[in-house]
């Protein structure tokens, strides 16, 4: 092992030279590691916050939820036996400033609570009065956004359905907001008593009732046991269980997804950084060729040299990773409060070792992968190279053991990212994508160099010295072409992919949906209101189409004798909205069996949605038993319908014949397709005449989705931005490294009679050429990645978005141009004598 000691000695002496040549190396590695560590830390902070505050977010240690009904006295008794129980109604409704057609109305998510609310956490109100005081005597608490929208102030009357309430306070912080997920309207909180006579939670209307339980000292095991116990007791009742460990499943899901996705983007950034690392190591070792050859002349073995330089790079990599980890820890702590303010859940800020380890691992592997190749070549440096010019060195393959080591490192990186990201398939595809992009970029760099070389030699460019010079330096030996094309190209590829996905999603929402989607969903129309409702909307010339359907809640009990609990499908889980009809209705296709005749009164029959029937294995002739408002009804499936849920219209999985549900309490659902200009008047009239009807404006819902997508796109853009920033650093590194060469060239050219304009043009052409090459590859790979993600992950149609693509090519060319020109000043300004004499 004496050779290792020798290597260490050499390494130590070489490192005394300082870090000046390694700024880009350190920056690339630190930035990549910092981005991954920061994203991971934020994700873990949110998850930890969700865990720590689980019961506050849920509003209790556990919750049992019913759809469209409250618990029966027997059910309630079972719950009361468990612990302290608080009952919360949750539903959508319209909040109004008054009664009749003149009032302003807005959609709101209402929570009607009992005296115990909130069981956990505290509500923050403005003015700071106790909750009980705010809710007493028909008081209401609303979210400031709703107050703004309706122009309400404290003390003003506010109407829910037919009930007049008084606005007492604004809701500054709602501890259990996260458990509701992302709602369509701002929050209103009233007491359950205030709902009486509002006509809002009658039988058949859409609402949820939650029973939140405080179980002092309950362990997770006890909660598990309780879940099993209650699920058995409530079998077939449609009750759903949730406990403090899963307080905000929607938020958790979004955070997990986004976090994983951003880590993948971060890996792409690290790959870009790897290019910079590789370029830095290459140029360092190029400068060391003399030293290496001298050491060999003095008798140092190849492995000693390799180990000596590996140690140096290792020390530097450790430093870069350490800087990255510090940044990656500090960034979330500084921006954490900003993130917390935008999320309905608390964030546990702090140092989380998991993501830091993950980032360090990725950083170390990336550094190894991108430096092994040039390092391995040091073994091949022959003593004779002391006496030959360094440029145009022959390309030799490193020895096999280094290639094997390289392969192992690549596999380790891909495998660890697949395992640690939690989205293994996407991680594998991303790794493949990055590798493909890198390969394509290496090919492109090679191609651009070959092409430039060829063009430089053709007659076409003769007489255009600036162009020929640019082509010559792109294509000639020892250029910066490869590093620039690789780093910028990879950065732009990530940006292009994100751009393509974002543009496609937006286009899909902006363009496709509103054309076929209705203007309004009206829900909770009572049977005695449907006539007046239809009278109003069907006689409006601005309305092109009105669809209505009766609706009621039901729970699937069994299908063809098999209990619902044995299926794992959303249709058999909890309450389903079902309907009844005499005819299939316009635009519905019967794909198997036969729909019952119009005045059919025989045994109950069921029409099932084709896709769901296939998924559940339902066949024509199967008996399906449903519990509809406490009564079991068994029907025979006699036909399958093709239902398109994505078109935004009405679609039910299960439809009975009308006679089968005769007398069951129900409400009507209606979709109205109207011109945008007529929408406001329709809402005013419909809700003015029947205040219990809830109107969901599709345009608003779409705006919400667009906004959410915008936030996602913004988060992703930040990730892509970090990648691009790394690319830009590499670019600047390459430009700075090339500055000496350009200064020399400019001086020689001046001597030969070139003006500064000619020289500058040549530099600009060279940069633009490389930038454009990187941009074109970025578009090809970015479009492919965008297509892949949209088609296979998001299952959405893809179309090439040329505007985003064009921006990226132009941006790429500009970025290189800028970096190139930033380092053109000194070469242009230098007096030839100073430069050329120094070279003597």
């Amino acid at each position: 092992m004496i050779w290792l000691t020798q290597a260490a000695t050499i390494a130590r002496r070489e490192l005394r030279g300082g870090l000046s040549g390694f700024r880009i190396f350190l920056a690339c590695l630190a930035l990549g590691v910092a981005a991954i560590a920061a994203v991971g830390s934020v994700r873990v902070s949110i998850t930890a916050g969700l865990e720590r505050e689980g019961s506050v977010i849920l509003g209790g240690d556990a919750e049992v939820e019913f759809d469209y009904r409250a618990a029966t006295p027997e059910e309630r008794a079972l719950l009361d036996a468990v612990g302290t129980v608080s009952q919360v109604y949750d539903f959508r409704s319209m909040a109004a400033t008054g009664e009749g057609r003149e009032a302003d109305r807005a959609l709101t998510q209402v929570k009607a609570v009992d005296d115990l609310y909130p069981l956990t956490g505290t509500l923050t109100l403005d003015p700071p009065i106790p909750v009980a005081q705010a809710l007493a005597d028909d008081g209401a608490i609303i979210h400031p956004v709703l107050a703004d929208r309706l122009g309400l102030e404290i003390g003003d009357p506010i109407y829910l359905g037919t009930r007049a309430l008084t606005l007492r306070a604004l809701l500054t912080r709602e501890p259990d907001a996260g458990s509701a997920g992302f709602g369509l309207g701002p929050r209103t909180i009233v007491s359950t008593a205030a709902l009486e006579g509002s006509g809002l939670v009658s039988e058949g209307s859409l609402f949820e009732v939650k029973y939140r339980m405080l179980i002092p000292g309950a362990t997770d095991e006890q909660l598990d046991a309780l879940e099993v116990e209650l699920e058995t007791a409530f079998e077939g009742s449609g009750a759903r269980w949730r406990d403090r460990r899963n307080g905000a499943p929607q938020v958790q899901r979004v955070v997990d997804r986004l976090g994983s996705f951003l880590v993948l983007v971060g890996l792409a950034g690290l790959a870009v950084g790897g290019v910079g690392v590789s370029a830095a190591v290459r140029s360092y070792l190029d400068r060391k060729t003399g030293v290496i050859a001298t050491l060999k002349t003095l008798g140092a073995e190849g492995r000693v040299i390799f180990a000596a330089y590996l140690m140096q790079i290792g020390v530097l990599a450790a430093l870069g990773i350490a800087i990255g980890l510090v940044l990656g820890t500090l960034i979330p702590i500084t921006v954490g409060p900003l993130i917390e303010a935008r999320l309905p859940v608390p964030v546990a800020l702090g140092v989380h070792p998991g993501p830091l380890f993950e980032a360090a691992l990725y950083g170390a592997l990336t550094a190894l992968i991108f430096t092994l190749w040039p390092l391995a070549r040091t073994e091949q440096v022959r003593a004779a190279s002391l006496f030959r010019d360094a440029t145009g060195t022959s390309r030799v393959w490193p020895r096999r053991r280094y290639i094997v080591a390289l392969a192992v490192a690549v596999v380790a990186l891909v495998a660890s990212s697949a395992l640690l990201s939690g989205i293994p398939m996407l991680a594998l595809y991303s790794a493949g994508g990055i590798a493909f992009a890198l390969a394509l970029l290496i090919g492109a760099a090679w191609g651009v160099r070959r092409l430039s070389r060829m063009l430089a030699g053709t007659k076409a460019v003769r007489g255009w010295p600036a162009l020929r010079l640019a082509l010559g330096s792109v294509g000639g030996p020892g250029g910066e072409a490869t590093a620039v094309v690789l780093s910028l190209g990879l950065g732009l590829t990530v940006l292009a992919a994100v751009g393509q996905i974002d543009a496609n999603m937006r286009a899909a929402i902006d363009r496709d949906l509103p054309e076929i989607a209705p203007s309004y969903f009206f829900v909770d129309i009572q049977p005695d209101q449907i006539e007046g409702f239809l009278d109003r909307v069907e006689n409006d010339p601005a309305v092109s189409r009105v669809d209505t359907a009766p609706m009621l809640g039901g729970v699937v009990r069994s299908i063809a004798g098999t209990p619902a609990s044995e299926f794992d499908h959303w249709v058999t889980r909890g309450d389903r909205r079902i309907s009844f009809a005499d005819t299939p209705g316009d635009g519905t296709r019967i794909v198997a069996g036969e729909f019952w005749p119009e005045d059919y009164t025989g045994d109950p029959q069921i029409s099932f949605a084709r896709e769901e029937a296939e998924e559940l294995g339902v066949e024509i002739g199967d008996a399906v038993t449903m519990n509809v408002l406490g009564r079991d009804i068994t029907g025979t499936v006699t036909n399958f319908r093709e239902v398109d849920f994505s078109s935004g219209g009405i679609g039910f999985v299960i439809i009975f014949n009308t006679a089968a549900l005769q007398g069951a309490p129900h409400t009507w659902l209606s979709t109205v397709y109207a011109e945008e200009s007529a929408e406001a008047a329709i809402l005013r009239d419909v809700a003015g005449d029947a205040p219990n009807i809830t109107a969901i404006r599709v345009r608003d819902a779409i705006a919400l989705v667009t906004e959410a997508l915008g936030a996602l796109a913004a988060a992703t853009s930040w990730g892509a931005g970090a990648t691009l920033l790394t690319g830009f650093i590499v670019l600047i590194g390459a430009a700075a490294a090339g500055e000496r060469g350009r200064t020399f060239e400019a001086s020689v050219l001046k001597t030969l009679g070139a003006t500064r304009a000619t020289i500058l043009t040549s530099f600009a052409l060279r940069s633009a050429l490389l930038g454009a090459a990187a941009g074109v590859v970025a578009i090809v790979v970015g479009a492919l990645a965008g297509w892949g993600i949209l088609t296979f992950v998001m299952e959405a149609p893809y179309s090439f978005e040329w505007r985003s693509a064009l921006l990226i090519v132009v941006g790429g060319a500009l970025a290189t141009l800028l970096a190139g020109l930033a380092f053109a000043w000194r070469p242009l300004a230098a007096r030839p004598a100073g430069v050329l004499r120094a070279q003597d």
């Binding site: 010295p465 010079l469 000639g476 001086s747 030969l752 500064r756 007096r831």
Partner: protein, 243 residues
């Protein structure tokens, strides 16, 4: 007069303040003349040559080349002036590494707007015995070959003035002599004015005049009579060297 320098001063910013390099140099060079610059190392020979080529700006006095005052011209005017009137051969060649020999030689012709730049460049490389190496990059050529490419590049536009800094400095004797012949050939056939820095007494002896610099001042001037010139045909055939 092709070149006339009057009271030229040159001070440069060194590490420890201003360094005075040239003091009150005045000299004139006539068309077709060959002038050798000799002197001890550090005496300012290269600096003077740079001044003559407009590659360095004098801090005092005037440098007139073909009647134009180089000290009042800006960088671009100087570049355009050199384009048509001056060729420079540097001691360490200074070929552009990303260009082939042919491209290096063609560049000044292209910059001067010559339509047949590449044809002329090829002929020029032929003339220095490198017709078979036009597509080679500088890194692929030996020192002597690079030196000859540099000479071809400087000579290709047929400059009125050719400035050469130790053109045979690190060449073996035979190659050095061949390069020298090329230079004098240029003078003889095209009437160019030659100014070269040299440590070689042989070369100095072949010049019409030699000027000796010591500590940035003109120390002595020698006029060589034509019959004193060393001409030894046996050692000067460059065709032999190029093989």
């Amino acid at each position: 007069m092709v070149l006339s320098l009057t009271d030229v001063e040159l001070s440069l910013q060194g590490n420890a303040g201003m360094v005075d390099i040239l003091h009150g140099i005045s000299l004139e060079v006539a068309k077709g003349d060959t002038l050798g610059l000799v002197g001890p190392s550090g005496s300012g020979k290269s600096s003077l040559l740079m001044l003559m080529g407009g590659l360095e700006r004098a801090t005092g006095g005037s440098v007139l080349a073909l009647g134009n005052d180089l000290t009042t011209m800006d960088e671009d005017q100087l570049a355009r002036f050199r384009r048509s009137h001056m060729g420079v051969v540097f001691q360490s060649f200074h070929l552009i590494p990303t260009m082939t020999a042919l491209e290096n030689v063609a560049t000044p012709l292209e910059l001067a707007g010559a339509a047949d730049a590449f044809e002329r460049a090829e002929a020029e490389l032929d003339a220095v015995g490198l017709g078979h190496r036009t597509d080679h990059y500088p890194a692929q050529m030996s020192g002597g070959e690079q030196q000859r490419v540099a000479l071809a590049r400087a000579a290709a536009p047929r400059p009125d003035i050719l400035l050469a800094d130790e053109p045979t400095g690190n060449l073996d004797q035979a190659t050095g002599a061949a390069i020298m012949d090329l230079l004098f050939d240029l003078r003889d056939r095209h009437g160019a004015t030659l100014i070269m820095v040299t440590h070689s007494l042989d070369l100095a002896a072949r010049c019409d005049r030699t000027i000796r610099l010591v500590d940035g001042r003109l120390d002595a001037e020698t006029r060589n009579t034509p019959d004193l010139r060393v001409t030894d045909a046996a050692t000067t055939g460059y065709a032999k060297v190029g093989e």
